[in-house]
Assembly symmetry: C2
Homo-oligomer: 320 residues x 2
């Protein structure tokens, strides 16, 4: 991975990507004790940064391969990003989702133009089903983070951050990034090389595999697999491609509590007028509630996504 791959992805993305704004509020600045600049990727197509990686993957593969279509495993943001990218290219897309996924999520993914194939979470192997479909139909698997084209796509957000930080006359600052498999973190970290900005991972307590892996220098895994309110960014361990990049470029990882993430969702609603999911708000939570673990006159926060269930969102608002 290198910056040229990210710049190439940015050129492919230019006609379709939304250049998301950098938001701020004096109220948040005061809480954090420094300027807080929020890169609002929840406003990206499909409500998360994942569209960047999806479009990068589809636009970066040979046309002869793309026309056969793509496949992704996910019930979340990655699926939606890949589905919309495929729809805009007019090529087939299959999304493999657990049969017990919320009806609305399945309907939304279908409405984006995807063929949804469901599997039994306990009985079936999604990898087997995916491999069979891919082979039968010539579909290309788009992985959520361990794919250079996907990392390059997510990294395009970092190119925008560097430009926007300059426009805001930011000096030295940490760039806080909600981290799952590390596609976004590693991609952004490459774009920050040679600047006064430094990438740092943010995770919810109990699912801090990136923070622990960065500390130990090797892949650490989480004790439990699911059940976090920050589900959108929970993975078991950093990716194979992404982790070496993170280890080279990132500062120590930050960890926030679920109630801090929920409060950050509420403050983003109140002060920035944006809708975040708890996982997408962990970096804002770190900026506001872990200020003593951060360096710089300003802090840049990536708000990764806003695909939140309404009952969860309402519970967050009740913290106000």
């Amino acid at each position: 991975m290198n910056i040229e791959m990210i710049k190439a992805a940015a050129q492919r993305l230019a006609p379709v990507v939304r250049r998301t704004p950098m938001l701020s509020s004096p109220f948040l600045d005061e809480m954090a004790g420094r300027r807080v600049l929020v890169k609002a990727e929840n406003l990206q197509h499909t409500g998360s940064f994942k569209f960047r990686g999806g479009w990068s993957a589809l636009s970066g593969m040979p046309e002869a391969q793309r026309v056969n279509g793509v496949i992704a495993y996910s019930s979340g943001n990655h699926a939606q990003g890949v589905a919309m990218a495929a729809a805009k290219f007019g090529v087939p897309v299959v999304i493999l989702m657990p049969a017990d996924s919320p009806t609305l999520k399945i309907a939304n993914t279908k409405a984006l133009g995807a063929e949804v194939v469901t599997y039994d979470r306990l009985r079936d192997s999604r990898e087997e089903i995916g491999a069979r479909l891919a082979s039968e139909r010539g579909l290309t698997l788009v992985k959520p983070y361990d794919d250079p084209l996907v990392v390059a796509g997510q990294g395009t957000a970092g190119l925008e951050i560097v430009e926007q930080a300059m426009a805001e006359r930011v000096g030295k600052a940490d760039v806080l990034i909600p981290c799952g498999g590390g596609g976004l973190t590693s991609g952004i970290s490459i774009t920050l090389e040679g600047t006064n900005l430094r990438a740092r991972t943010c995770e919810p307590e109990g699912f801090d595999d990136a923070a622990r892996s960065l500390a130990s220098g090797k892949h650490e895994v989480n004790a439990t697999q699911g059940g976090s309110i920050c589900d959108a960014i929970v993975t078991n361990s950093p990716g194979e491609i992404t982790f070496p990049i993170m280890l080279k470029n990132c500062g120590s990882g930050l960890v926030v509590m679920d109630n801090e993430a929920m409060r950050a969702v509420a403050l983003a609603y109140q002060r920035l007028k944006i809708v975040l999911e708890p996982g997408g708000a962990v970096a804002l939570a770190a900026a506001l509630f872990h200020a003593d673990e951060i360096e710089g006159d300003a802090v840049i926060v990536v708000a990764t996504g806003g695909n939140v269930d309404t009952d969860v969102f309402m519970r967050c608002l009740e913290t106000l």
Copy 2:
């Protein structure tokens, strides 16, 4: 008023204004039967477009006048826009608010750096108090819409809309604008002259003074003064400066029901990941629920503000 005044305001605003994004969702397009492009001015500083007019007024007056400070009457978006503009200029600002305003609103206005002077809504004349303070301290009154500098500031949103519509390859389209006194509507309407875009007012049922005034050609007033859930955009009648411009440039006015505005708030949350107040969502409501009264292959919607009380917002989400 003319386009040159708006372009001059845009130059003064350039270093500070947030260029708000144009958002969209395939789900909203399908509901409306055409492309829906949402200019998200709720993401502007202070959560509404009013910062544009406030900054334009302060930056457009002679420095010797500005240093004495400004005064505004309002408990809402205009006050916050003026207060932040004054704070950024480092000049005094007095906001006259009813003594029974919500505590949080008073606290927020103070936190933006304003001196809040309260008055008794029934017993006092805010105009008298304002005139006395202005005369004693040499403050300049910044009116919410009947001021050429304010109209020019709000019109800068229109310059951005024209550019963004071209980038989105919009052909012919109506530009739907939540309308109170008409500062935003008249300003934007000037920037649309000579384009394929046409400005149209949007108001809540029962407070449709602009629609009726546009129909009759003279200033009509509302039968009742308050009590709309769309309170942010309710005025008694179009402004003196603004109405002749609207009459010359605008198509017929659109009127939506309160429950349509509330549902538009919910859909903006769900599909665009933004927070709107009901008054700021009447144009989106018109685009979605009054499609047969609109012309064009696309419709452009201005989302004017997001300063909503949380109990009202939650009631809106319950319509999902």
